[in-house]
Amino acid sequence: MKNFAIGAMIAGTTMLSPLVASAQTEVQFWHAFSGRLAELVDAQVADYNASQGEYKVIATSKGNYSETLNAGIAAFRAGEHPQLLMVFEVGTATMMGAKGATKPVFEVMANAGADFDQDAYIGSVKGYFTDTDGQMLSFPFNSSTPVLWVNRDALTAAGIDPDVDLSTWNKVGPVLDQLKTAGSTCPLTTAWQSWIHLENLSAYHNVPFASKDNGFAGVDTELAFNSPLQVAHIQAMGEWAKDGKFFYAGRRNEGGANFRAGECALFTESSAGYAGIKAEAKFGFDVRPLPYWEGVADAPLNTIIGGASLWVMAGHEDAEYKGVAGFLNYLASTPVQAQWHQDTGYLPITTAAGDATRAAGFYDANPGTDIAVIQMTKNTPTANSKGIRLGNFDQIRTIIDEELEAVWAGDKDAQAALDSAVSRGDELLRRFEAASR
């Protein structure tokens, strides 16, 4: 049955490929965007195609992140894969393990003779996608980092100064109490719980999420997110959930709807939530850095990214790789990158694009939009805060989701849930290790 499904998927993919009919060298680019973001990508592609006549990039949306990765994998097995494939950060280890299926970006750039200065890219952004020698394997495309979104009107309504200090969780606690007492049904909610409340929590406080430098140093890594710091945080969140101070809406960004509707006062979500919140919120909002716990030596260090990067797939013509190199350089160019950062709330991938945005006065006109950039770049990343690179990570996140849900529901305490998540996740890591041997 599974094979049948793969066959069907391949057939579908093949049928969707646009017909090749022009003298231009075509570059297929599969992405995972829809709606506003897809429009912005289409505009970038159209602009690049108009800027030169040799190459034609064809962008196709393949569904959500998981579906896009699957489409790419199925197409590779059928020999119908695109030159460029968008893969979310969770799929990074999978792509790195597939040595014969991908072509490292630094190699593509060098072979094409393209101008490519890896130092121009922001360290904490590219670091997620580099090999142990610091060479870029994939091209960071849309990266964001979690921040705290605040509904100022909700704070005022509860009799709290909207400029109240929310820099640490220790200070957030009493504010949640006040909100609850004032009758708020949703003092705090979150999106992407594993990413924000475990992965980023660990990096931010300089504690390991997994051994072997969070998996960067080898596939024989083991999960380590059941240490006292993480347990204390999840325990605190669990107690807030029990008292109705933390409202759990779902595994992805379901909580966003509640926040944008004005129901929730505080919301931990990606900085890329900006576009949606700005468009829909009918209340005063602002952005704060992600809170940390007081008394932890290295906190706040830096947060890590989420989002996706572009992988160049193997098995294509040299001329096509030249087109890929040209397109990637176009995306990294300062005006294009600065515009992308300002339109979407995603982080700029080059230092120059960030500087250009500041020089244009965007941060002054839209206060808080630079918080994510500052939070990412103010400290030098350590082995614990460079990123996370684990095989089967998508499934491990699902396991974490399940165990955290058990805490929010009051079925398990934080220690038991995280211990269980670690041991279940380790089994998947061992399977990945076996598969990539």
Binding site: M1, F76, E427
Partner: protein
């Protein structure tokens, strides 16, 4: 004495069954064989390399507490979906069968939900029961019941069962309705003259007479609950919370297509193949004896 129709020679009969044999071979035997073969390996997702592990994938599965729990979940889910889709369908069919006027309209309306794709049905139900904006959960809140299928496993199970059964009621209704129409009126009238009331006639005459249909639908619905409900589960709960709605086939999908663990996924397909095979044998062996053709 059994009556047999026989052909002379073997060429014509062979030719006649050939299309079915080809279809079965291409779409059933070949993939099933591939699944069995792949279940012995741990491949990498891109098909670049593959490591033979023998029965390692099965060992891994059966040492996993959550995989074992998934059997119970599947059993509960299948029984509930089968009951929830067959009993209301039978009831509606009996009622529609009694109608003199407007039977056609009722029939059309009752068949409608079957035209809706499972994933869309899932989204519809999800929308009604959304913990914050769902109309049903809002009314439940008014009654003092705090609906939250995102965290409550029993509620999540209830929701996927209802969403999976809903469209299926139409399908079952069609078959029941046709079966009821075929029950000879003379038998029922004779019973009525003897003084049997409606429900007595139903249980002692109609039900045994439609038992072949009942049995057919039982088999078909169990297979449906096992294989075709994953669209609904995917859209409503993604198997959560805490795997309380992860049925076997959903796990095949999520491990294979989300997790890229094709070896484990293939092994699970094989296990599923065996389970459904055993189930069908059991159904034919034990239940079919009570069916009167």
């Amino acid at each position: 004495m059994e009556k047999r129709v026989t052909f002379k020679g073997w060429k014509l009969p062979f030719l006649l069954i050939l299309p079915q044999v080809i279809v079965s071979a291409v779409f059933f035997f070949y993939p099933a064989g591939q699944a069995i073969y792949q279940s012995l390996f741990i491949p990498d997702p891109f098909g670049l390399s593959s490591r033979f592990v023998g029965l390692g994938n099965f060992e891994y599965l059966f040492s996993n507490r959550y995989y074992l729990a998934s059997f119970t979940t599947t059993a509960v889910f299948s029984v509930l979906v089968t009951l929830c889709s067959m009993i209301p369908a039978l009831f509606l069919a009996v009622m529609a069968d009694r109608l003199v006027k407007g039977a056609g309209t009722y029939r059309t309306l009752l068949i409608w939900p079957y035209a809706i794709a499972p994933a869309i049905a899932g989204v519809l139900w999800l929308f009604m029961f959304n913990t914050r904006i769902g109309i049903v959960s809002w009314y439940l809140g008014k009654l003092g019941y705090d609906w939250n299928h995102v965290l409550n496993g029993a509620e999540a199970m209830g929701l996927v069962v209802v969403a999976s059964s809903w469209g299926r009621i139409s399908y079952n209704f069609l078959f029941f309705f046709a079966a009821l129409q075929a029950v000879p009126k003379s038998v029922i009238e004779a019973a009525a003259i003897d003084g049997a009331r409606f429900w007595r006639r139903f249980f002692t005459i109609v039900l045994p007479l439609i038992s072949p249909t009942l049995f057919f639908l039982l088999v078909v619905n169990v297979v449906y609950a096992f294989f075709e409900t994953f669209g609904v589960i995917h859209t409503i709960t993604s198997g959560g919370p805490q795997q309380s709605t992860t049925i076997l086939v959903y796990k095949v999908f999520s491990d294979g297509f989300v997790g890229q663990d094709l070896g484990s996924s293939a092994a699970q397909s094989v296990v599923l193949l065996v389970v459904v095979g055993l189930l069908s044998v059991a159904q034919f062996k034990f239940i079919e004896k009570r069916v009167h053709y």
